[in-house]
Amino acid sequence: MLDLAWIFEGLLMTWVIVPLLAIAIILAFVRLIIADNLPDRVVALDVLSGIAVAMMAAYSVASNETVFLDIALVVAMITFLGTIGFAYYIDRRS
């Protein structure tokens, strides 16, 4: 029973949830590519990193490994810094 549940979840996670997130990444990436100004790209990058955090949460369930949550925490924190850095740059050049 538990095994079946795990298979169900595993399949769902691996073949539905995670790919859906990957599609979200594609969308954000498309924004990054088609953007015609830098702030737009930064937004896209910020969203990308947010999705990455979500991806890690999902992946921790998919692989039954809590360690991926740790990465999510670090990534959430560090990508904040990245966004701030870009914003600083945009401020400085304008």
Binding site: L38, V42, I71, V74
Partner: protein, 914 residues
């Protein structure tokens, strides 16, 4: 020449040394004659077959006597000639160096030892030719002589090595016994050619002869000693030495005969046209050297006999003549035969000496030169190699020698001087200058007189001749021809014709000089300079082509090399057929999507026209790779990749807006070419990855880590245990790399200039500032958490350090560097120092306190909350963390600080694009 005040000097006393050696050599003559050759053998560089082994056989004895005997006289002479020259000490030093070297050449039994001395003679010759170093002529001539003899020396080196290898021995005495082995070697011809090249350059044989007349730029004692009596004979010596073996080489005989002949005749032809006494002597020296080679070429017993005797004869008279030229120059201030004349009365002793020398040169009894010339004719007149031709050649050689002798004695000492030339102050040279020539003249006479005695013929001459001949022969020389044949007739004709020519030569002088100059344009010296210029030109072009200043070109060279070399094995093995490719399991959708995004983003890094857009795309590549790491179970890696990528972006951001906008600079063709090249590299790496992943992977070490990580190294996160324990040394160096990067950035910014594009001040955000105040302690707390759990879960000192530094970097962005510094309280460099010290200290605990090895992990026993056991790896990780914080902050602080200074000091400086 020196007209300085003669203060007198005692350098001549040094001559006692060679004189004493001469005496000792004389005591050894009987031993040599009994084939009891004195030997000395001391190991030197056994692995390279070189030993300090000397052997004094007949030929060595003859040469040594010349080197030391003439050397003795030269030292005395030089003491007079160089009197008053401030550099006389230097001169004697080099001269003595040469003497030792030359003595070494002729007495060495080990061929490499011989070569060592050989090269030393070249170098001392270089220094002596360039002795008057401020003159362009000296500089060029010295370099030329060294270049030619140096090149020849290298040929000789190769030849000697081949010879030694063929013979299986490096000792001359052994090599000469191993004739059969040497002849059997297929490298023997090559060895012979190389040895001949070495000898020809040294002994100024055509077409390498041109350096010798130019070498007359040296002070006259040098010309007398090196460039006539001794050093130039080294080439002849080596040919004579090798004669027993090499005469069997194909082409040896005729190469030597023809080259010797050309050299001898050419030298003679050039000699009589020169107005400079020293140049006349130089060319006749070339001529004489040609004769010696020519005789070795003929190679039969008579020829060798003639060769050995002529060698002695020439050294005696030519050494004397050079000294005389120097004496004349010393007293009159010129060596020009057109100006000089009638010196016989003013310098009677010198004249006497000159008379003796020129008579010997012309082959007139009672001087040794007479027998010398007799033997030459005897060698050619009865040879089986074409007596007529060779005899005619010998006649021409001898004719020019006689003519030159006549010109010197007649034009310098006997004919009227140039009326415009003032000789009122001219008087006899000091004794130091005439002693040498006189002694040599007397010796030439004495030896002729005693030539039939046992001492000369048996003890002195025969052993020398036997050495060249390769078998022991005792000969008895005759002062006068024992029986009548064509030889004395030839001798007589030569003398008459030669002197006659000397007397009348001025009438055709102008014409011949024009002829010589005309042909000289096609001569080997022109060739030499053309070669030199050509090579220098080629060198310059090569340098400019390769070192063109364009970094892109350098990189293209590298990448092309990479493509060629890495694909080389394919071409050699024939095909890809030998390579197996296995495709492992199918990728999942999300993996494919991320991979596709990485690829597209990578292309956009190339395509984007904005710099920041490109950096953003690069960030996507990095994040994408981090996700791949995540997918394939590398949590630490994913975490680090995310952090590093972000940090890189920050650094780019702090730097890049000062950089100019992109320009499209490369031509379309260039872009296609680069695209092709980079595509090839990509393909190669793709292929290598595919091939390598198709080879089964060995997990022997991975399994060891998995088994030992917790039980032996007390950590559950195997990656972290590898980093701080199994491969802790890597990490220790890695953090030093970080530290140095930090120091480097600080140093660059400290010494660099502060100019850049115009920037605008930042309006600080209240919201951000307030938020950071609360975030910073939380982030710091989190960083400590990451540090402590690293050993068992993803994290560790490195990530912890990055997290901690991010807190301070946030402060830089929210407030300014000053406030961030106040928050940190210490200089980042101190953190680096302490961090590294802690890391090293953790590694040193075991060796210092426990007699264990470096970095051996030691663990405490008490379990602490959230941390677990304390141990040196944890301490190491703390060191890592401190170093990382120090480095990141030293980089970010100094960059941001420069940024702020720029803003405050000169907000509107024009920098901008060019």
């Amino acid at each position: 020449a020196g007209h300085g005040e003669s203060k007198g000097n005692f350098y001549w006393l040094i001559a006692v040394l060679p004189a004493a050696c001469v005496v000792w050599l004389f005591t050894q003559l009987p031993n040599v004659a009994n084939q009891q050759f004195p030997q000395l053998n001391i190991a030197w560089v056994p692995e390279l077959g070189t030993s300090l082994s000397f052997r004094l056989d007949g030929l060595s004895m003859l040469m040594s006597l010349l080197v030391l005997g003439v050397g003795t006289l030269i030292l005395i002479y030089a003491s007079g000639y160089m009197d008053g020259d401030p550099k006389i000490g230097r001169f004697f030093a080099i001269l003595l160096l040469f003497m030792v070297a030359m003595l070494g050449v002729v007495t060495a039994d080990n061929i490499m030892l011989l070569f060592v001395f050989w090269e030393l003679t070249s170098i001392s010759s270089y220094l002596l030719i360039g002795f008057k170093h401020e003159y362009k002529e000296s500089q060029v001539s010295a370099q030329q002589a060294l270049f030619v003899t140096g090149a020849g020396g290298l040929c000789l080196l190769a030849g000697l090595i081949l010879l030694g290898n063929a013979a299986g021995s490096w000792e001359l005495s052994e090599i000469l016994k191993s004739k059969d082995e040497i002849l059997a070697s297929n490298l023997f011809p090559a060895a012979t050619v190389l040895v001949i090249l070495g000898a020809f350059t040294k002994s100024a044989q055509f077409p390498f002869h041109f350096w010798l007349p130019n070498a007359m730029a040296a002070p006259t004692p040098v010309s007398a000693y090196l460039h006539s009596a001794t050093m130039v004979k080294a080439g002849v010596y080596i040919l004579a030495r090798m004669n027993p073996v090499m005469k069997s080489a194909p082409g040896w005989t005729w190469t030597l005969i023809i080259v010797g002949c050309i050299t001898a005749i050419l030298g003679g032809w050039m000699a009589w046209q020169r107005p400079d006494m020293k140049k006349i002597m130089a060319y006749t020296t070339i001529s004489a050297l040609g004769i010696l080679v020519f005789l070795i070429g003929i190679g039969d017993k008579v020829a060798i006999k003639a060769m050995v005797l002529f060698l002695l004869v020439h050294s005696l008279y030519k050494g004397a003549l050079f000294m005389i030229a120097g004496a004349v120059d010393h007293e009159t201030g010129t060596r020009d035969v057109n100006k000089l004349g009638a010196l016989g009365r003013l310098m009677p002793i010198t004249f006497t000496a000159a008379l003796l020398a020129t008579m010997s040169m012309a082959g007139i009894p009672p001087l040794l030169g007479f027998t010398g010339k007799e033997l030459i004719y005897e060698a050619t007149a009865f040879t089986e190699l074409g007596a007529t031709g060779l005899t005619v050649a010998a006649f021409v050689m001898n004719f020019f020698n006689v003519a030159a002798a006549g010109i010197i004695i007649y034009r310098v000492f006997m004919e009227e001087k140039d009326p415009n030339f003032d000789t009122s102050h001219v008087h006899e040279a000091p004794w130091k200058l005439w002693l040498g020539p006189i002694v040599l003249g007397i010796l030439a006479m004495l030896s002729w007189l005693t030539i039939e005695g046992d001492f000369f013929s048996v003890q002195f001459f025969s052993p020398a001749m036997s050495a060249v001949l390769g078998k022991w022969e005792v000969v008895h020389l005759h002062a006068l021809p024992p029986y009548f044949n064509i030889v004395p007739v030839l001798s007589l004709i030569t003398i008459v014709a030669g002197f006659g020519f000397a007397y009348f030569h001025k009438s055709i002088l102008a014409f011949s000089q024009r002829l010589t100059e005309g042909t000289g344009a096609y001569g080997p010296e022109t060739g030499y300079f053309n070669f030199l210029d050509g090579m220098l030109d080629l060198a310059g072009r090569t340098a400019v082509m390769l070192q063109n200043g364009y970094l892109r070109r350098y990189l293209e060279f590298v990448f092309v090399t990479l493509v060629v070399l890495v694909t080389l094995p394919l071409w050699f093995s024939g095909a890809l057929g030998s390579v197996q490719v296995t495709i492992s399991e199918t990728p999942r959708l999300n993996e494919l999507i991320i991979s596709a995004i990485i690829i597209i983003a990578a292309f956009y890094v190339v395509r984007f026209s904005g710099r920041l857009a490109a950096i953003a795309a690069l960030g996507v590549v990095g994040y994408g790779i981090a996700l791949l790491f995540l997918y394939f179970n590398a949590p630490d890696l994913a975490m680090t990749q995310f952090s590093i990528e972000t940090l890189t972006v920050i650094i780019f951001v702090l730097v890049i807006y000062r950089l100019p906008k992109y320009q499209s600079l490369t031509s379309a063709l260039g872009r296609y070419r680069d695209a092709l090249l980079s595509g090839l590299i990509g393909l190669i790496m793709f292929g290598l990855v595919l091939f390598v992943t198709s080879i089964p992977y060995s997990r022997h070490i991975s399994n060891f880590y998995a088994a030992g990580s917790y039980l032996e190294a007390k950590g559950r996160n195997i990656v972290n245990v590898i980093l701080v324990d199994f491969r802790g040394l890597d990490t220790m160096v890695e953090i030093s790399v970080l530290a140095v990067a930090g120091i480097g950035v600080m140093a660059l910014l400290a010494t660099g200039t502060f100019r850049g594009r115009e920037v605008f001040p930042v309006i600080r955000s209240l919201i951000f500032q307030t938020a950071s105040r609360y975030l910073v302690p939380l982030i710091l707390l989190f960083s400590v958490f990451v540090l402590f759990r690293g050993h068992n879960e993803p994290g560790g000192g490195f990530i912890g350090g990055l997290v901690a530094s991010s807190a301070f970097v946030i402060y830089v962005f929210a407030f300014d560097v000053q406030q961030a510094r106040e928050l940190l309280r210490v200089e980042p460099i101190r953190l680096i120092g302490v961090g590294l010290a802690v890391a090293v200290a953790s590694a040193m605990i075991s060796p210092v306190f426990l007699q264990e090895t470096f970095m051996y992990g030691v663990w405490g026993t008490t379990e602490l909350p959230a941390i677990g056991k304390l141990g040196t790896p944890l301490m190491f990780d703390i060191g890592v963390m401190l170093t990382v914080v120090g480095t990141v902050l030293s980089i970010v602080f100094s960059l941001a600080e420069q940024d702020e200074n720029l803003q405050h000091e000169n907000p509107h400086t024009e920098g901008g694009n060019v």
